[in-house]
Amino acid sequence: MKINYRQLSIITFMSFIALKFLALPSLLYLESKNMSMFVSLALMIIDGLYVFVILDLMKKSGEKNIYEFMKNCLGTMLTKIILILLILKYALVVGNISKGLEFFVVENLYSEYSWFVFVLPLMILIGFMVYKGVRNIARVSEMVCWAIVIGLIYIALKALSGIDLLSFLPFFKDGVQPLFNSAYIHLSWFGSATFLFMLFGFVDFRSEKKSKMIKYVIFAILIVQLLYFVFYGLFEITSPTHNYCISDISQFSSTYSAINELSWLVVSMWIVAQAVQLALYSYCLAQALKFLFDIKGNILPIIIVILYLFMWSFIGENTVRMERIFFSSFASIVTLIAQYILPIILEIVYAIKNKTKRNKYKIERVKDERKEKNRDKKEIEVNI
């Protein structure tokens, strides 16, 4: 059940835009003000570079899954610790997407209804997609990707005329320090390449075209930047009060009206994107749980993930604010290790292990050659 390189590129694209159009732009503005776009741009570029680092590891792992690969490189104990970190990362993303979806749905589409009505079909869908595996998620992403992209571009372009370019000036008024602070605090909203760890052994590299992945990553970065440009241009200093970027752009843009607007249907496409992203990270979470506890079948980890998803429905808005604070501290460390440090460590350990192996092989070969020479000498002496 492998996925091809194009499908991998598309789910990478989906992962890159996941979480970006919810509360992130308003949170970024708190520290980095009108330079927030630079923070997201820089972090997304770094994420993009890490995609290729992890892909390189993936190729080196061959048919091995991440657990086997890490066990070979780092040993069982360290592997389990790293898996716990990855589980935390995936769990945070799943929680964040599900909460984002909840607010998007309840606040924008069903203000009089409880989320509990809507979470059950979502659980069924996610459970089904995760059960069917990554190929299923990849194929669905392939089909819905362009509809989502068209929807996003439509929203951005329609609101483009309402933005004030002067609001971006002056550049770097408070220096670059706030940008670094903002980048670290909100690191957990990035790390979009971490999902790749759970795809080790599931990608068919025969059709590999690096340019394809580069195009999709650049495209994702451009779309996010376009939406952020529109968002900050529209809301300027009021940006921190707009917690749902995608719906707020449509709702408060001067070219839209709050009601009687058919473009809400386009905005609704975002639900599809969220569902697919949720399925992707739920799959990663289930896989990581499976590896950590050495669970044989797929059902048990899926049930755990689905129940976890359901659990988020009980978390109210205040708790979510707390969770965001939590996100800004603990989660940043998790992301820092899981995405930015782990691949480098794995690359180094793999290189050292390979070098040692190669040296061992060389030494053994030299020994064998010597032995053969000695044997030949003895044979000659015996013959004489």
Binding site: N4, R6, Q7, V105, L109, Y110, V117, F118, P121, L122, I124, L125, F128, M129, K132, R135, N136, R139, V140, E142, M143, V144, I259, N260, E261, L262, W264, L265, S268, M269, I271, V272, A275, V276
Partner: protein
């Protein structure tokens, strides 16, 4: 086996429970008694007289010392398709398929002569695949004629026909047809294995085989393709598919099947590519409207009326004012009415058709609206959705169920539910791999080369390769 012209004849009649249509004739051939046994309704009487009885009576060559059976085989029936049987059961089986048995007294073999009377309707344009341009020939209920229609188009030694017999009671002839160098050998093997393992008392129509050939038995979605036209079948075989022809059925099954096939039409290949691309886009929109329109309408009316532009909202509100039912019941009522009218219409004698349309569309629809039972938008929405079903007739029954599901989901969960429903369907279909071919190919997985004949169509000369969406012999992928 020792044949006794009279005793064996009686044994055959006894075997067939003295059926009234089993007839026999006895002639003397150089002093030896010969009985001819046949089933009258399926035997060509004229051929029987001219090619069997007349030559037997008038044969005057020297036969000194020769075996009568050999003389019959070599000389009297030299122009006929003759089979030699050494056991009675296989001879009777063949007789039931239209052979006339020749029972020569004291011989050790029975001869069977194929003079079957083929009762078949004329080759005509099938009502389900009417074309404006292109061939109008359609398959009939005769396997022989159907094979002839294919052979007429296929003059290659690469074309293979594998004959099977299925059905304990009906002993129906099945032909599996494909191009040896194009079809995927594994798929051919798999199809033949599945067909050979079928245990059934009768195969009345090709659709009897469908459930044996499809992987997901209880699925709503079609997994085996079908066609009533030889040109379509040959086109599909040239892409690597396999055809299954069943004697007695004008519908030929094709495998592997992908969803896109139903979006294509034989007309498409005889029309300008730009027009085809436009029409295919229309069909796709039609599918979306057919399945989702009533559900989306209910969702908008019940939950998201704020989304609608003001003028549109006012029009709908004016139209729905005073309707005693909720939008859900209203739409459900109109859908039910539509489905009943549809069922009645297709089974009703043709001369009632026009009256039915008038009663259904004008009187029932108009009266229901005037009486204030249903609103005009509800009628319009269901009618539009109903009409768009038949843009893709092959999937109409599935769409009808999906539409009902869409209505229920739209009424309970609104737009959110409809969107999740769409993702669920896509996810469900993504797993449907039929005989090594992905059901949603070439969209998911995306196959660039096959886009030349997917939602758009390029000219025939640009389609240099066979589609990769269908499992075929990849080494013989070039159409040139």
């Amino acid at each position: 086996m020792k044949v006794d012209a009279v005793k064996t004849l009686n044994e055959i009649k006894r075997k067939l429970h003295d059926s009234g249509d089993v007839k026999s004739r006895t002639v003397q051939f150089f002093g030896t008694q010969i009985s001819l046994c046949y089933i009258a309704p399926i035997t060509d009487n004229e051929l029987l007289n001219n090619t069997l009885i007349y030559p037997l009576i008038n044969f005057s060559d020297e036969i000194k010392g020769k075996d009568i059976v050999d003389i019959l085989y070599d000389k009297v029936l030299a122009n006929q398709e003759v089979t030699i049987f050494t056991d009675l059961q296989s001879a009777v089986d063949k007789m039931l398929a239209g052979n006339t048995l020749i029972l020569v007294d004291c011989a050790e073999k029975i001869l069977g002569c194929d003079i079957e009377k083929i009762t078949v309707r004329a080759v005509a344009e099938p009502p389900t695949s009417v074309v404006i341009k292109g061939p109008r020939e359609g398959f009939t209920e005769s396997l022989k004629y159907n094979l002839a229609l294919i052979r007429k188009r296929v003059k290659s030694d690469d074309f293979v026909v594998k004959m099977l017999e299925l059905g304990k009671m009906t002993k129906t002839q099945i032909a599996v047809v494909y191009y040896d160098s194009i079809a995927d050998k594994e798929v051919v093997k798999d199809v033949l294995k599945r067909l050979n393992s079928i245990k059934i008392d009768g195969v009345i129509d090709s659709h009897y085989l469908v459930s044996y050939l499809q992987r997901n038995k209880n699925s709503l979605f079609k997994q085996v393709g079908d066609t009533e036209k030889p040109d379509i079948l040959v086109g599909k075989m040239l892409e690597g598919r396999i055809g299954i022809i069943v004697d007695g059925s004008p519908i030929v099954l094709t495998l592997p099947f992908i969803l896109l096939e139903d979006l294509q039409n034989s007309d498409d290949y005889y029309t300008q590519p730009i027009r085809v691309t436009f029409v295919r886009a229309l069909r796709l929109v039609g599918v979306i409207l057919a399945v989702l329109l009533p559900g989306v309408y209910i969702a908008l009316e019940l939950y998201h009326y704020k989304i609608l532009p003001t003028e549109f909202l006012i029009t709908i509100m004016n139209s729905t004012q005073g309707i005693p039912f909720s939008p859900f019941i209203e739409i459900l009522f109109v859908i039910l009415l539509f489905e009943i009218l549809y069922e009645a219409n297709i089974r009703m004698p043709q001369y009632f058709g026009m009256a039915m349309s008038i009663v259904g569309a004008l009187i029932l629809g108009e009266t229901a609206v005037n009486a204030g039972l249903v609103s005009p938008p509800a009628v319009m929405i269901v009618a539009l959705s109903g009409i768009t079903f038949y843009i893709i007739p092959g999937q109409a029954s599935q769409f009808s169920i999906l539409r009902l599901l869409g209505v229920v989901i739209g009424a309970t969960l609104g737009i959110y539910g409809i969107l999740l429903f769409c993702v669920f369907i896509l996810s469900y279909l993504s797993n449907f791999d039929s005989y090594k071919s992905a059901y949603l190919a070439p969209t998911a997985p995306y196959i660039e080369e096959d886009q030349k004949d997917s939602y758009m169509r390029k000219t025939i000369d640009e389609m240099k390769k066979r589609p990769r969406s269908i499992s075929n012999n990849k080494e013989n992928n070039n159409r040139r």
